[in-house]
């Protein structure tokens, strides 16, 4: 028989989850308020702050930049991360173990330090265009997610299926594309969306790599907050929450969200 949770403990958990979700509910409320200041509970309901978010060209532009940056950075990272994860899973004995540590370095080194170092050495030092540096920075930032999540998927894969295809005459590259890849599809999709949302929300790297004409949505939000304090920011925040919901739905359908609790 299942033991009952002590009521005090259950109440404690309820309060925790109210604390976790309350502020987000407040943002949704203020984004709908028909007032020029942030009001909660909302006074009158309107969607004009959402319209406003799209009317401000800086938001429109940075939404697009952030979106393309997240897609391209993640794609680049997966393109080099999948082979790396594959090599580590398939040829475990041939590769030294410290490689795994190298691939998680981007989460070990503080993001803000990485951003500063990229700005100093790559953008300024090598005169690399800001956008290119930003793209490389984001690809680096999400590399650990790509390698780890795809790696977790590969750990479940039975490589003897691939061997069978190869021994029957299938070229190795074709065996990878038609046998291995379809079997780790879930992991690749989950890696993509987790990396995408990480890149989309990034502040610490991007803050150093925004310049004339190049900025990302979170950085634009920070800048906007310092000048205006109207519900537009709340409405952009709500739009970002929709993206989060979409990401969660995709992860749930591929790996299952419990994958994140481990």
């Amino acid at each position: 028989m299942r033991r009952r949770i002590h009521p005090a403990l259950a109440a404690f958990a309820v309060v925790t989850f109210l604390f976790l979700l309350g502020p987000l509910i407040i943002i949704v409320g203020t984004s709908l308020s028909d007032t020029v200041f942030l009001a909660f509970p909302p006074q009158g309901l309107t969607l004009r702050w959402f319209e406003n978010a799209f009317e401000i060209s800086a938001f429109r532009r940075t939404m697009w930049t952030s979106f393309t940056l997240a897609v391209l950075g993640t794609a680049l990272s997966l393109l080099i991360g999948i082979p790396a994860a594959y090599a580590m899973a398939r040829y475990r004995i041939q590769l030294p173990r410290f490689l795994g540590t190298i691939f998680v370095l981007p989460v070990l080194v503080p993001e803000i330090v990485l951003g500063f170092a990229l700005m100093k050495s790559v953008a300024t030092g090598l005169d690399t265009p800001i956008y290119t540096t930003l793209l490389v920075g984001h690809a680096l930032l999400v590399l650990p997610y790509c390698v780890r999540v795809v790696g977790a998927s590969l750990a479940q894969f039975d490589f003897s299926i691939e061997e069978a295809a190869v021994s029957l005459g299938c070229p190795r590259w074709k065996a990878f594309l038609t046998v291995v890849l379809p079997n780790i599809q879930g992991g690749v999709i989950a890696a993509f969306v987790l990396a995408f949302i990480t890149s989309l929300n990034d502040v610490s790297i991007s803050i150093f790599l925004t310049g004339p004409g190049v900025s990302t949505l979170p950085i634009q939000l920070l800048a906007h907050m310092e000048q205006f304090f109207d519900p537009t920011i709340a409405s952009v925040s709500v739009l970002l929450m929709f993206v989060t919901v979409a990401v969660m739905a995709l992860v749930e359908r591929t790996l299952g969200l419990t994958f994140l609790a481990k």
Partner: protein, 275 residues
């Protein structure tokens, strides 16, 4: 091609990305702190001799430590409830923890700006209840930074601990109880030792995360509650003191790596399985 060569060839692009765009830039950043005209450790001496800079480092340590402690205090009991909840409820609670985690740090910090502001929701509520006459100043205090950081990191702590607590079989706690252990004794002698690895991982994530955070101290602490992350940014982008900024960066990396290293050693010593 031999397997060995093929393996290296496949891993090479990712290795190069990390080596060229993380390894070299970070090492060259460290390099500039040792190559000033005043001597090898001059920039570090200057850092630790300045009362202001020391206070920033100290404040960052303090905020990160308090945030970690509160996150454990909130996260542990909550994770226990989540781990022991029936299936459907459990999935729902995990969703409720993942959602804030995947919502951006700017959005989550903004929420506290709205709540704690001078004309914010909390002040408004307190005034309406007649508890205060004048709005309280809550923004740009250490308390505001800590509250927002705890908010940022509690989901991470919960999710890390749920994974570990889930792995503790219910039979084990039942067995302890049937042998006469009080709930407190069961917790102390069975649950806690098995949860230690998760607690350490969670604590490392929260400590290093809050120690190196930028957006939250920037928005809720401002200039008055300067922390290492905001200080680094200010030195690099406002005063253009790149050597000073590099020194801050190096200190941040040392503290982060020392925390990870020290705690993983502690984890190895305390791990009942590896014991």
């Amino acid at each position: 091609m031999t397997d060995r060569r093929l393996a290296w060839a496949l891993a090479m692009p990712a290795l190069l990305l990390v080596a060229l765009f993380l390894g070299l830039p970070v090492l060259s950043t460290f390099g500039t702190t040792f190559t000033t005209d005043d001597g090898l450790f001059a920039t570090y001496e200057a850092f630790f001799q300045s009362r202001f800079r020391r206070s920033v480092l100290w404040r960052t340590m303090e905020v990160a430590t308090i945030t970690t402690a509160i996150s454990v205090a909130i996260g542990f009991p909550t994770a226990w409830v989540v781990a022991r909840a029936p299936r459907t409820l459990k999935s729902l609670l995990i969703v409720a923890a993942v959602f804030p985690l995947l919502t951006g740090v700017v959005v989550r910090s903004f929420a506290w700006l709205v709540i704690l502001g001078r004309n914010g929701i909390l002040n408004g509520a307190l005034e309406r209840l007649g508890l205060i006459e004048e709005p309280l100043t809550m923004l740009y205090t250490q308390g505001a930074v800590i509250v927002a950081m705890v908010y940022l990191f509690v989901p991470l702590m919960i999710l890390t601990l749920v994974g570990v607590l889930d792995a503790i079989p219910e039979d084990l706690t039942d067995a302890a109880a049937s042998l006469g252990a009080t709930p407190a004794a069961t917790f102390r002698q069975v649950v806690l030792p098995m949860a230690v690895p998760g607690l350490i991982v969670g604590a490392v994530l929260v400590f290093t995360g809050s120690f190196t955070s930028y957006a939250t101290p920037q928005l809720l602490g401002g200039e008055r509650q300067m922390m290492m992350g905001t200080f680094l940014h200010q030195r690099a982008m406002v005063t253009f003191d790149w050597v000073g900024a590099s020194t801050i960066a190096a200190i941040m990396v040392v503290v982060t790596l020392a925390t990870v290293w020290g705690m993983s050693r502690l984890a190895n010593r305390l791990n009942p399985v590896a014991g």
